[in-house]
Symmetry: C2
Subunit: 721 residues, 2 copies
Amino acid sequence: MLNWKIEDTKFDIDNVDLNGSRYLIGNGYMGYRGTLEEYNAKQLVALNMAGLFDRNGDSWRESVNAPNPFYTVCNVGDEILNPFNGNVIAHNQTLNIRHGLHSRRTEFKVGKAIVTVIAERFLSMKDENLAVLKFTVCSDRKITINVNTKVDLNVWSINGNHFNVEETTRNDDINIIKMSTGELSIPLWIYEKIVGADNETTVTIAPEKSFTFTKICGVYWGEKCDDSYINFASLCDKTYETLKSEHIAVWDNIWENSDIEIDGDEEAQKAMRYSIYHLCSIAPRNTEKCGIPARGLSGQVYKGAAFWDTEMFMMPFFSFTDRNVAQNLIKYRINTLDAAKRKAKEFGYEGAFYAWESQETGDDACTLFNVTDVFTNRPMRTYFKDRQIHVSADMIYGLWNYCTVSGDYSVLKKGGLDLMLQGLLFYYSYASFKPLKDRFEIHQVVGPDEYHERVDNNAFTNKMISYSADAFIKALNYIKENDYEYYEKFIENNDISWLNNFVNKLYVPVPDENGIIEQFDGYLQLEDIGLDELKKRILIENEYLGGGNGLATTTRILKQADVVMMLNVFRAQYNTEIKKANWEFYEPYTEHGSSLSACAYAIVAAEIGMTEWAYKYFMKTATIDLTGNTKQYLGSLYIGGTHPAANGGAWNTAIFGFAGVSYTDECLNITPRLPKKWNSMKFNLLWKGVKLMVEIKGNSTTVKTDSDITSLNVTVNGKRI
Amino acid sequence: MLNWKIEDTKFDIDNVDLNGSRYLIGNGYMGYRGTLEEYNAKQLVALNMAGLFDRNGDSWRESVNAPNPFYTVCNVGDEILNPFNGNVIAHNQTLNIRHGLHSRRTEFKVGKAIVTVIAERFLSMKDENLAVLKFTVCSDRKITINVNTKVDLNVWSINGNHFNVEETTRNDDINIIKMSTGELSIPLWIYEKIVGADNETTVTIAPEKSFTFTKICGVYWGEKCDDSYINFASLCDKTYETLKSEHIAVWDNIWENSDIEIDGDEEAQKAMRYSIYHLCSIAPRNTEKCGIPARGLSGQVYKGAAFWDTEMFMMPFFSFTDRNVAQNLIKYRINTLDAAKRKAKEFGYEGAFYAWESQETGDDACTLFNVTDVFTNRPMRTYFKDRQIHVSADMIYGLWNYCTVSGDYSVLKKGGLDLMLQGLLFYYSYASFKPLKDRFEIHQVVGPDEYHERVDNNAFTNKMISYSADAFIKALNYIKENDYEYYEKFIENNDISWLNNFVNKLYVPVPDENGIIEQFDGYLQLEDIGLDELKKRILIENEYLGGGNGLATTTRILKQADVVMMLNVFRAQYNTEIKKANWEFYEPYTEHGSSLSACAYAIVAAEIGMTEWAYKYFMKTATIDLTGNTKQYLGSLYIGGTHPAANGGAWNTAIFGFAGVSYTDECLNITPRLPKKWNSMKFNLLWKGVKLMVEIKGNSTTVKTDSDITSLNVTVNGKRI
């Protein structure tokens, strides 16, 4: 189990915030931070609810943290057993990432006694509403201990309280708290059943004996509240062990398709699995109504909103391993198409302009001022919301890439085709035709490298739009061939007469005589300084490097390289020379100020044979939430938490970089290039609905399948197998 | 002579810098700051040379200040007679603006004696190379005084020394200093002839007697140096009085056409004449190789460069009063067309993109970073150079407006037509065609309101481009009708097939349902605060309000109102309701942070019957260089000096605002609306080459002409006269 365990073996007060993210457990419905049972708001305790948002007064709208069902604290007389009070003799915190189990064991010195607190908890992967705890306390001497457990309202919330408690009752040993959110009065009900104790229990423990109780809580919000009592009552009579084994069984099933086994590199193996663990913990398994927030379910940072990260960094993992989750994510975007149309209209465009920060309705939670200037403490006008227009193309990419990978085109007729067309229409209305150049250009955008705002012809953006147009044409052809009636109706209801001209005349930057693709018009004219020089110029540590007057704005320094990202996404369309030239050109300018940056560099590095660099960036990406070595502040804005896009990026790097998986519409190819240390790599992929079991060992690559479909086009090192 | 005299009657150390500009004398070839003869670089002494530029090291290129030919200082023993040393009993500094004569009279207490220094000087309007001084010293007691006079190299220069002295000789009582500039080795030679003294003279003055000498200096640069000795020798034998009377005669002649007589308002009369004085002092009379710098010839601020100000604010005065100067200004722009083409190419456009800051070659002296951020002391990226694109249209306006007013179309065939077409081609290559709206839009520009950068469809800019296209078509038709051969050749050599489509589909913002013309796309969505609120937010006095993070940037607060400027320029095209609605809408948002702002408000206010407001803004404009109440710093950049554009704006306000002169291509109309105080207003205009002598007195307006042309279309209050 070594590679399935994250562990701290002592208490470190400096790691409390970080461990809240590192030891996160989640089941897609909710996420619970890796805090200790006796902690409260000060230690950032949070039961973050996926898809539930609230706005408190004038502060920004954010996801909500429900009250803490696991709150339990012991005291011996006046002495409260909490590491913050000192007297910790030994401490161990463990996360079992195979099964989403959090446990802790802490020995406290209380007078002459050593009192040990042991707890294990999980959020049930089988029954998503259940939060389950087993709590044990023992002592080396006879001692009388008070144990208090409750659903604690004192939890972390960035923008204040989001709930009104409407009713607290008790029925059949079940405590019930009924609350509702302030803004939209959405109900959130919590059930608490304690087995083997009361909310307040005083117990005298004999030496070497222990006192144990379990606690089963049910957390329901929205329409789910309606039948929640019946649902909870039917579940809460099960024992802790039964619930745990049911939970474990689901996790084992998840790993069946998701795991990547790496032999020869314990560290990479653990980081890889840890990344996959996070993706699986936060994936929306049973809803089409929410995306994956940029900080997962680790809190409210970035407002609990879904960004382009989902489609570009996480979707490949789900498309290749879990069709259900991938479909849910796509349907969430289809369900929010109207909001994207509203946004387009608001900014004077047609079609669908997807939100930069998407909450439950898909309306944009992003403000026009989302960085604070550290020099003046004033809000700074940024252009994430109105100019980072690649977001609609990212949606189209996520959708069409899913279709290509899964072979499942059903989403097209469930609104997917509309999403694609409306996204393109937005770009057409956004684009500028330059008659003297006889081409469409895309002006005033922000690319993923957010340090350069309102640039013209950003390579990544233009390429994504061009891809989107191609994808739509393919999708339309697919429908035409497979459901002519639907096709006829679609083109009857939608004017697409402009499309061919737009596609044909859309400008996409191409390599210059040195093979360099300029990130945007005029990039090469910017001040040519390296990162060291830029850092010397920094006056205040957290100053924002982009924006109107940022240090990077007028230089070539990038937050993340759009061009390398583009070469990564469209890896099948550019040759090794181009990839190499651009990787080497842009790398020295790249700050990697975004957690999205490293994996793009890693994948392209692997492709051009720079395996050591690839490995370095892979480890950076895969360990991001283990080490906590990330930017914690943007200006004066706290941006800590987990990084699911980097988790997805780690999977992408392993599969597309090291295993060398690439694919066109029809054919999947594997050209392995494992890091030196790795003896073998083993993983499963779902390709066109067929499970491929891949094992790479030295120079040998085997691909097995449990189906007998022969039409599948899979090659290894370019040779059909 | 009351209204022709500017006078200080005591010495005030706080006014020394300001008086340098207030008491400026100039003759178009050079300008000499209103400093005392004994001053040096510390007091900003400068003989600023029109059209001569130099770059010292890495600092920016600037106009140069030649050595000081007037330097003269007296001492009695150790005591130097300089107000900075104290002991001033009486002091008088006078500028005769009718004749460009500067004089001073200072009584110093020296021991028990009172020593009086009297000096008068001028830069000859007849012989532009001559700088002439008469210096007298007297005492109430017998006293021995040393008088030192020389050509002093210790003069003000913002970016250090620009000259290498190559030779100092003496020939026939003439001291000769030959120097050359550092960057381009351009010669600048100065001749000094002293009559009645030597460079160092010791004289014992009897009580109530005086010692007087005169000094005639010649300043020549560039090719003029070649024949300079002969030229100077032929002039320097004339007496001071002869040279003075020749100088005066030319000035009298200038006033003949330029003066505006105002009866009933001494203050306005003086300010009006003072404004005209400045325009006439700095007008390039004998060269087609330089424009009028934004700070006139008062120093090196704004690099001595010509801005759009010339064409939009000063040209009307010259077009209506001095065809020679107007032609010189136009030819300067025609002569720099190649530089404008280079600039267009540099930024990826076709045609001619005129310099924001134009020096002798017309290459842009503006940098991409011309404000310093007061919070970080870093250069701030601004968009004056690359986005204030209205500048090319301003050139076309200046040219075509001159043709319209003067009836002189000769400049069209001397490169004027090329200038117009190349300017338009630039706009065509800049414009974005939006197929869904079926129109050309102009994006990412900076309008005269520089606080809002990179805006789309700035009303002023789009309107100016539209005007330019119309003007070009008219100009082309004129040529077609008057010189078909030239026309044929022109359209053979130039592709203008795109023009009609561009003109017809160019979007120009129109009034909304409230009559408001939105300054640019999205302006009305900006934060709606007043000036007071904005000022409360200021943290550091000189902080720049525009740019990426400026306080005004995200609000409706304007440096100057583009829309009001547009209504002013195109006053014949918009009705009173529109003018009134927009004046009232934009005025509360206007900071008047530019000296160009007030006159546009004044003229439109006069047109809509708000005469008191008009008068207030007129006086603000006309007294700008008398009071010195202007912004002295932009960020940390010193921007003081004279304001010829405001001087021109004062003339415009008097003529177009109060006298109510407006004109179309063919017809000039006068609809007077004098301020209450003004009993009468009298002025001359050259309209289509005919001198109109206008007198407005109460309700009666008379227009006389000394020619007998009857075809002239002139109306008063809309009635043909």
